[in-house]
């Protein structure tokens, strides 16, 4: 009995250690949205239910990637990468998105925008989103954050009628450049 207990504890410790390690697939999956030349140096995080995160892979550049698959409103395969400077903004987005009532959510977003508590993303930072039913069929959507930008300040239209790049949500913290096709 005295011998059995340490053996069992040893096996349990090894199992727990193996379980605690992040499977390489989890990291690779999150990195799928990253540009190839930035992938190796990117940080990978995992969001927690309390809107904080744990770091799964510490990177060397300013890109951070995370898996959103299975989150409310997301498709079965949904990963995103952006600047580490946008993590506070993304955390705030996730707080708002936790509200499932569309009207209440929009009211909360409008209030935050009006009272100045909406966190701004880094001007010029990029969001790479890869979404789909699975990785093979997922489509990449790239936007550039330009908080506060307007048609007058940036020289781009604030609607898609002309068919080129344009500013969505112009004049707000959510303003971002959309590019046709992606």
């Amino acid at each position: 009995m005295i011998r059995v207990v340490p053996v069992v504890l040893g096996v349990l410790a090894i199992s727990a250690s193996a379980w605690a390690q992040t499977p390489p697939d989890t990291i690779e999956r999150a990195l799928a949205a990253a540009p190839r030349q930035m992938r190796e140096g990117a940080t990978v995080i995992k969001w927690k239910p309390d809107f904080t995160y744990e770091t799964l892979k510490k990177g060397t550049n300013r890109l951070v990637c995370y898996d959103r698959s299975g989150d409310p409103g997301e498709q079965a395969f949904a990963v995103q990468c952006t600047s580490v400077g946008n993590l506070e903004r993304v955390a705030q987005n996730r707080r708002f998105e936790a509200e499932t009532d569309k009207v209440k959510k929009q009211a909360a977003l409008d209030a935050a925008e009006a009272n100045g508590s909406r966190v701004k993303p880094e001007f010029g930072s990029v969001f790479y989103s890869l979404d789909g039913a699975d990785q093979a069929s997922a489509r990449l959507h790239t936007t550039i954050a330009v908080p506060g930008a307007t048609a007058a300040s940036l020289g781009l239209p604030d609607n898609p009628k002309e068919g080129g790049a344009w500013i969505m949500n112009a004049g707000t913290t959510t303003a971002h450049i959309m590019t046709p096709g992606h």
Partner: protein
Amino acid sequence: MRLISCLLAVAALSAAQGTQTFRGTITDNMCAKGGHSQMRMGPTDADCTLACVAAHDATYVLYDGRDAYTLSDQKTPEKFAGQEVNVTGTLDAKTKTIRVESMSPAR
């Protein structure tokens, strides 16, 4: 012969049990959760959804308020963009994809 008939009956029953009706709004995968009102892609949710698909390579999804389901049929949803619909089909839970059999406006 009886055995084959029984097997076919069981198979038919299993297939029928896999068919479900899903209720939700036809929107696009880029803005499934987002309010379209501030995006200025069109005056209505329908216009915004259509523009997202046409100009930005988005795909139609069914959003039930919590989950966004990929739809195997990407043609029929066009006429229901922005509307609440009933979709009948089978769900692949792993890919959150509904293999669409029919689609009609919700009443």
